[in-house]
Symmetry: C2
Subunit: 232 residues, 2 copies
Amino acid sequence: MRKATGKMVSTDMQNSFTEENYLKIIHSLSGREGLEVSTNALAESTATRAASVTDMLRKLADKGLIHYKKYQGVRLTDLGEKVAIKVIRKHRLWEVFLVEKLGFGWDEVHDIAEELEHIPSEVLVEKLDAFLGHPRFDPHGDPIPDSKGNLTEPDYLILTDVHISEKVLMMGVLDHAPAFLQYLDRSNITLGCIIEVKEINDYDKSAFVQINGAHTLFISLEVSKNLLVQRL
Amino acid sequence: MRKATGKMVSTDMQNSFTEENYLKIIHSLSGREGLEVSTNALAESTATRAASVTDMLRKLADKGLIHYKKYQGVRLTDLGEKVAIKVIRKHRLWEVFLVEKLGFGWDEVHDIAEELEHIPSEVLVEKLDAFLGHPRFDPHGDPIPDSKGNLTEPDYLILTDVHISEKVLMMGVLDHAPAFLQYLDRSNITLGCIIEVKEINDYDKSAFVQINGAHTLFISLEVSKNLLVQRL
DNA sequence: ATATATTTTTAGGGTAATCTAAATTTTTTA
DNA sequence: TAAAAAATTTAGATTACCCTAAAAATATAT
């Protein structure tokens, strides 16, 4: 546990690698509605202990990046949100670079982008964005915030919400784990493919689906829950 | 000042950002002959105090990365050399990327490459190298080590060694400072241009030179000392 | 060759980010 | 609603990297 230092709050201060990660994770855990995020949830996501999280929360609160009252969980301030979105923009642009330009698979880029996202240079991000042709989505279908910090989450369906005989377009994934993405590769489920739900098993909600009007396969509820789709 | 910890020495351990910077700087200061580097020289180059350098040297020696005897200066071990060359390879490849692909000027890329060079992924470096077409030199004319760690420094002349009426090819710069590179830009002195020495002033060694058989200009000894060239 | 100056190392601390263990607050349950 | 459980915070350390001041070793100069 650390003491308060009472430093000045400046607008263009540097945020450390660790601070940026906290902000990004708080953004992601608080979701679209900006719900309060718990200390334990952060401990889990940052792979640290709750006590360490508490220390960092005090620090982020002192810097004006989060709203924090002891025992009450945290939310991002407007400033914190701005910083988080910048990090997310960088992460997703680097992922596009790694897949589109360097030829990585979508299952290989997360950890590398996790490092690249903390490289601090506004002009670098803008030049990278232009080089990539101002992409709107990353290789997993996640939207890329624009240079002004606008992030619009498209409202996709989850495949579990789709009824029998409906055809949908595959738009993104919720789980970014390499094992899941590799499973999709092996099943020929790619961004933009057409999925038609043929049957749903009442008992376990597993489904029989057809991909691009061609091959068919069974997918478990666990898989359906992680596929973002859109009606045709 | 820190105590020895007596940790195991493993071949594929992680080196921190700071450690990698020390190795890179030791490599650069010890030159082609692998001369001993002094504590003060390292303090200067790392922008830290001599006492901090001593601490880090003990640590690098414990990890088997440098040869270090108190008061005697340091040299890289074979392992340290290998690590240093990997960092240099990454730095120079990223500089090529920033200039060739993102459109940065050669005066703008040093600080950004300084960050990118510490991103740890062998496969990233190899894919980047392939994407760039396996460049042999970075935007300042410095040679890029190959994937096996071979670094061959071409033996260029310094412009001060060139006699009157000789024509030489501009191959690189010793000083990477933005101000110097911007001066060269304004003077139309670029990598690959032809420089003919027309006159040398005996008093201050300033010179009158012609660029690409076209425009002529005066350059100071300070400038000549930082230009690497090769006879035609 | 000895005195002086310079360089380097040691001693003792500080900060950021982490930890374990214990105390405290909030939530759940009987 | 009081007791038990869970979540969170505080207390006190640890590690990596950095600092100043003082001591020790080396280099330079008279």
